[in-house]
Symmetry: C2
Subunit: 343 residues, 2 copies
């Protein structure tokens, strides 16, 4: 399945673009008003196809209120909220392992720094609930259920989440600033070089004012994409050599979601998220709604595709203890990727 | 991709049943009344999942009128209709080639005897149009378009169509008698042993009262399933040896659609159709509505799966001139299967 198999996988990347997604630069559909539930289901959810919707949240008081930080702090003054602090904005990302000798093999010196999004908007941030809708009405009707979780995101230009996918249908509403997405369809799973990384969390010391990164004990491995789509100029060439299927395959879908716009991010799509402040210079704020996805034939096809080995990391850069990906029969026993998280 | 690859393909067969379709005997959902367009789209079309609907066509005059043959002939008395005559009820089936020496290698002695269904209900049989609806209203609303074709089927207990798939969403309404379906999801494509067969047509001689089967000239190859799910007791063992993936894999979904019921047969599902008269002994009559399908990620996944060689016929039974299926890199150039037809 190495050479010939690779060719048919690469043909799949092309075909999903030709058949369904389009291949030019403006290929993510833009809707000027909210779709009907039927349109949304037929043209996007059923086809596992993203779209950007304008004028769907124009009535939210949040749009005018939240860009003023004093309003936010006043509304939350009686709430206990938890913050995910990082030294560099990178939560849910692959970062160097703490206390690791720089001369060591690079790949075994990485870990997964995680943040958790567990319905925070409806729990910790309920003081802001009246400023937006509890759900996306046309999505709720289309999908036949209420959101499983609603999350609030407040970040600055440093905040970044590396490539991953979620087992949810995702409606992502930007309230202030702009979010920049890179998107890849589930068919491109091999281009993500998903590997198991040891889970770790940042902890902040009030005494020293410094962050430390602590690997969970006992070690827990989280499957996550190894690809950084924006490597520094110094590492760019090495990264392109390590992840050729990403850097040499079809360009990811790129889009910017502005304040007042909503992105439909279909289940199982890989996404990388950055952000920038709006014209007012305020931080970037967004609310996302996770709806349960259907575990249907698309999901079975995905698990099948993922179980075909292609595009392994070279052996010397494979994280220690992780399974090799060279034998189809070995891979057939592997569990589907359980990676889950979001920004 | 031979042994290990086979294991992951067989795991896909299981997983699509576990995730989505169910694996017990009563696994095709039955609805007691027509679904709303949203339910139909969300729970069936989007998931590429069949269902049987009762009480959806109870208002059709056809249900009481068509079982009486004199009514049918009267209604069509001014119409010129074309009939597909066969000596044995098997149109759209693989049958022995005419003038072929029985001692020859079996596989090269077969051809594809075709019938054509091209919107006959709305053209040749329009005299009956007032007896049923021009479309299936909830399907039309769900799918966002009118039917591309409406076909009328009149057959007896000998009429049979062998396994094939259609590039349409199919609503299949039985008016008189019963239709017996065997269904396999698109993920089971390798179990169908689809091979190119030379196209042929029956012609009937009024002089001799006999049928002859004529192979099209120049030869045109039609990809069609090689599997006969009901072999005679004498050939059963040989058939099981030739098509082990079919006979030893998961059982096909089986269902009987009675007069007054509608089957939703999702696009790309393989189906084998037989029929039997109702209690009144009348022939079996059905109307089916073909709606355009979406060429989306499911379709791209299907083409990918189909391009992986697995379960080839042994070389000695491969139809002459047909491509071998042993090299992944060769297969990657193959066009997607264009098989199309129905009963």
């Amino acid at each position: 399945m190495k050479s010939g198999g690779g060719r048919i996988i690469e043909k799949l990347w092309e075909e999903v673009r030709e058949l369904s997604l389009g291949s030019d630069d403006t290929r993510i559909n833009r809707l000027d008003s909210p779709p009907t539930p039927l349109q949304f289901l037929r043209d996007y959810v059923s086809q596992n196809k993203p779209c950007i919707i304008s004028n769907a949240i124009s009535h939210w008081p949040a749009l005018s209120r939240w860009p003023h930080l004093p309003y936010l702090s006043r509304s939350l003054s009686t709430s206990l909220v938890s913050l995910h602090l990082t030294p560099n904005g990178r939560a849910d990302s692959i970062v160097p392992l703490p206390d690791h000798n720089k001369d060591d093999d690079l790949s075994s010196s990485l870990c997964f720094a995680s943040a958790h999004q567990n319905d925070c908007f409806r729990t910790e941030y309920s003081g802001l609930a009246a400023d937006c809708d509890p759900d996306v009405p046309w999505a709720t009707e289309a999908l036949g259920c209420s959101p499983d979780a609603v999350n609030l995101w407040i970040g600055n230009h440093l905040s970044e989440t590396s490539f991953h996918k979620d087992h949810y249908e995702n409606l992502y509403a930007v309230v202030s600033g702009e979010k920049h997405f890179l998107l890849l369809p589930p068919t491109d799973v091999h281009r993500m070089y998903i590997r198991p990384y040891p889970a770790a969390q940042y902890s902040y010391s009030h005494e020293t004012g410094e962050f430390s990164l602590e690997v969970e004990q006992p070690t827990r491995f989280v499957p996550w994409s190894s690809v950084d789509p924006f490597p520094s100029p110094e590492t760019r060439e090495a990264e392109m050599d390590k992840f050729p299927l990403y850097f040499r395959g079809p360009k990811p879908f790129q889009c910017t979601i502005k304040a007042g716009e909503v992105l439909y991010l279909p289940s199982m799509w890989f996404h990388h998220v950055r952000q920038s402040p709006g014209d007012d210079g305020c931080c970037t704020i967004a609310v996302n709604y996770w709806y349960d996805m259907q575990f249907d034939i698309k999901c079975a096809y995905f698990n099948f595709l993922q179980s075909i080995p292609y595009g392994s990391l070279p052996p010397e850069t494979r994280p220690e203890g992780s399974p090799s990906q060279t034998d189809v029969s070995e891979m057939s026993e592997q569990e589907p990727d359980e990676q889950n998280g979001d920004q």
